[in-house]
Point group: C2
Chain length 144, copies 2
């Protein structure tokens, strides 16, 4: 199994980052502009892009600390069976976000593209939280 | 063993990217500003930053296609025993760069930081090649 594992430092308290990871209108500003749903354990979030829609079940939440998603059972993409986890830790007056997307099959062809894409969106999250404006999908770094 | 594996699309022919991966003055513009050495198989490149210096032996080169580095035998950092590989492939009139940094020990604490950092520098490489200006170390995304 392969795992994407990135870490980023963000000049903001954990609570602000947790909001950006859980509120649909905030997720829309750093990841997928058409995001729908309410982050509660067991709920499904919808991330709609072009003709596609990524459904994510909220599998775990700990306020200001942890957000976990899992693609729904119907998922037949490379993401089927994977898990996404954001852990937010206070460090020296700012926060560190540990991001893990685990459970990729060893032969998942687009793994290195996903790895790069998640890094770009974590930078977008950082810019949204620090400066008030992210660069959600699509942006100049990917999909062009 | 852990491996960082990113992929990025760059609007440029492979030859231009290969130059940016091999010429010290170009490496300085997207990765470490004080870069010294000449890229020839077996040669050592010096990447100097602050009080530190990362030495990389050029372990393989294929013009316009492949660049491989290995930290030198004296390396006692998390990078000891690792390998860095850039593969440049022409795709539909642009290029895809496959970046792999492999051989990390399973307990390499800073692995997720390196994963994020390499992504940032690959974006810097993309911007240098496409627009003429990168964002080498240090920059707003890391080390601040």
């Amino acid at each position: 199994m392969k795992e994407i594992w990135h870490e980023i430092s963000i000049k903001s308290p954990p609570g602000t980052i947790y909001q950006a990871l859980t509120q649909a209108d905030k997720l829309a500003q750093w990841w997928i502009p058409d995001t729908r749903g309410e982050s509660k354990p067991g709920n499904i979030l919808e991330f709609r892009f072009g003709d596609g829609c990524q459904l994510m079940r909220v599998s775990a939440l700990e306020p200001d600390r942890l957000v976990c998603w899992q693609p729904t059972e119907e998922d037949d993409s490379d993401w089927a069976g994977t898990q996404v986890q954001f852990t937010v830790l206070p460090v020296d007056g700012r926060s560190t976000v540990q991001f893990r997307h685990s459970g990729f099959r060893g032969d998942a062809e687009r793994y290195p593209y996903y790895s790069m894409s998640w890094a770009v969106f974590l930078l977008s999250l950082k810019q949204l939280v620090e400066d008030g404006e992210g660069f959600p999908f699509p942006n100049r770094w990917i999909h062009q």
